[in-house]
Symmetry: C2
């Protein structure tokens, strides 16, 4: 039986494809510290389960296709803190940020259309877009420049008559880079001058360090028709397994049409929406404390990386990732070696080779993404293992 | 800002588009009995919440992309009752049957490919397939014939070089028709002779009346490479809001590729999977009692319909729907009239106009789908309202 070309063309998740090797060595008794996926070890706030248990669960009924009103309103209130005012029909709840991105690609792009995106980028963007025949056109950014955007001219020369949007995550996964005010203004200009949608993935918003304010694109004026914000509870509230995301836009025509996609899949899990509403209602100081915790971990990671000869890495300012150039020829080979051949007192680390985060062939071969999702003590040990591993590997 | 053609081409859910009218009259104080959507009033078994509360919820973590092993094994055991043996990698958990259908369409069809489907059919099939550029080619079935399939010859002449699959729900939504053994064998023959996938939506399996055994296509030999089964807890376990579905197939290459789609969206909600595993582990007599309850309701509905002059409707044998031809010119106009202009002691009913369940223009205009999802007393009252409504409308 033949399979479709589009499914055969999809790449396997580069983050998940090394998992079988990790599983194997763990079975052999090795302990593996996972810095390869964005699964934080921070507790999900109790209000999540409290809200579910307080809900009438006698019949687990369909929710509304648009989403539970309590959750929609909790998200609106969350944006209101920054004076960003959304109407009720400006919000659609989705199965994680993943479905939000798929819906957005379908609604804005015809088959074969293009979306501009700074690379390295969140590797699953590839999966969503490939499945619906949308092409990602990379705007290359570099470790040496802290993965900040190139000039407006560099970006606009990538625009063709098929370009429909410019998409990015801010703070950035995998780079940990927070866009500057000037970069946000540049994106706005490019979008307005070229009639592009702005797809702003803000699932890490609020996790920004060194006193930086990671702003929402929603704070900018004059782009109501262009702007689509992607939200999720996964990272900010450490509830990855809840799969609650959302799409926000003041473009009424767009949202009315995306609702048709939402109706076709009926609704998002009802109980998880009830729990998520309670998360968005948490006092702002909760998110502040999460940010502080990640900042501490960032310092540990950056301090170590900065003292390893041959490593290239600007200090990341947000999210909980860093992409570092390592003094190795092939980062994937090194990651596999760390798993299979190396340990310190029976313990090793797993990193994500960064090549899969680039669309341009050949880039990122000597880079890894490190997710600092473990507590400080574990991160200290993990970074010591990386340092010793690099020395041993290069001998 | 332009929207994509594919989203503009999508139809609004015909089942949900009349909801604003119902909302309006309810605000005016009218009571509406909802026979328009498949949301049963049966309690979700307590084991669902019990399992979730017994689970470690301190961090709501990502599940596996393929799904929680306990749920996968519970589904395998559920099929084993009918001697249908699936390996662990033959099952992928999805966000409801909806995502299962979308993944299946993407994996089996290139852009512009075709899937054969008996009409009237579950209207959301349109949404899933339109979004991923797959064309549904209808095999027309008729109320007068109890919506059973036409001859093999009638079906095969619809096959083109773009046809990739034959898809159906059994027991059928919206028809309530259970496929006969001969029909199942015919589908098998057509698939084998024309190299088609068989997409068997079995989310209502087990809900079959009059001593009928609603078999799984998985019981048939020789179609391991062709067969894809769609499962869901929504209807059998009255857990529509859990959004837990699955794809089952012994075609290893297919499942390996569908897993890439599952990886791209990371996972399905973790807690809902834990609850769903407990549902599939319920003793078989639970499903037997659910079937008995729907059979009682079916009898009430059919008894009334059978005594209204001008109504055409064969006795449905499964699921919890019936499509009936009414003695009206336009069923949608009648449905709206029932909501806006009619009531019996302040109470009225909402039905689903059946036109949206047909792909062939002009069919189903005088038909409605009735979902018998309310308890016997409510169904009695609802059917009396329908009967009186028809008399009043035709005066």
């Amino acid at each position: 039986m033949k399979l479709s070309n589009r499914i055969l063309d999809m790449q396997e998740s580069p983050v998940r494809k090394l998992v079988p090797i990790a599983t194997k060595v763990k079975k052999q008794g090795k302990k593996v510290l996972h810095l390869n996926i964005g699964q934080p070890d921070i507790k999900t706030p109790d209000v999540f389960m409290d809200a579910i248990n307080a809900y009438d669960t006698s019949i687990i009924k369909y929710s509304f296709s648009q989403g539970e009103p309590t959750l929609i309103n909790a998200i609106r209130d969350y944006f209101k803190r920054d004076d960003i005012l959304f109407d009720e029909d400006d919000v659609i709840i989705t199965n994680g940020g993943s479905e939000a991105l798929t819906f957005t690609a379908i609604a804005t792009c015809n088959f074969g259309d293009e979306i501009l995106i700074p690379e390295p980028f969140y590797t699953n963007y590839n999966g969503f877009t490939k499945a619906v025949d949308v092409k990602l056109v990379p705007i290359t950014t570099k470790a040496e420049e802290g993965f900040h955007l190139p000039s407006k001219n560099e970006i606009t020369k990538l625009i063709t008559d098929k370009t429909r949007a410019i998409m990015f995550s801010n703070p950035g996964n995998p780079t940990g880079t927070v866009l500057s005010d000037a970069e946000m203004e540049m994106i706005k200009e490019i979008a307005l001058e070229n009639n592009l949608y702005i797809i702003s993935d803000e699932v890490y918003r609020g996790i920004a360090f060194d006193g930086l304010n990671s702003r929402s694109m929603g704070e900018l004026d004059g782009i109501d028709e262009n702007l689509i914000i992607i939200e999720s509870v996964s990272k900010k509230f450490s509830a990855c397994g809840a799969r609650i995301g959302s799409i926000l836009s003041k473009n009424k025509q767009l949202m009315k049409n995306i609702l048709k996609l939402a109706q076709a899949r009926l609704c998002v899990a009802t109980l998880e929406q009830v729990g998520a509403a309670a998360l968005y209602q948490l006092v702002p100081s909760y998110l502040e404390s999460v940010k502080d915790e990640y900042e501490k971990r960032r310092d540990i990671v950056y301090e170590t990386l900065n003292h390893i000869p041959g490593v290239v890495c600007e200090k990341p300012t947000g999210a909980f990732y860093v992409v570092a150039k390592l003094p190795v020829d092939n980062a994937e080979a090194f990651v596999i070696w760390l798993l299979e051949e190396f340990d310190v007192d029976g313990e090793t680390i797993m990193l994500a080779p960064a090549e899969g985060f680039y669309a341009t062939e050949g880039l990122g071969v000597d880079e890894v993404r490190i997710a600092y999702v473990l507590n400080s003590a574990d991160m200290q040990r993990a970074m010591a293992i990386l340092k010793q591993g690099l020395i041993a590997y290069n001998k």
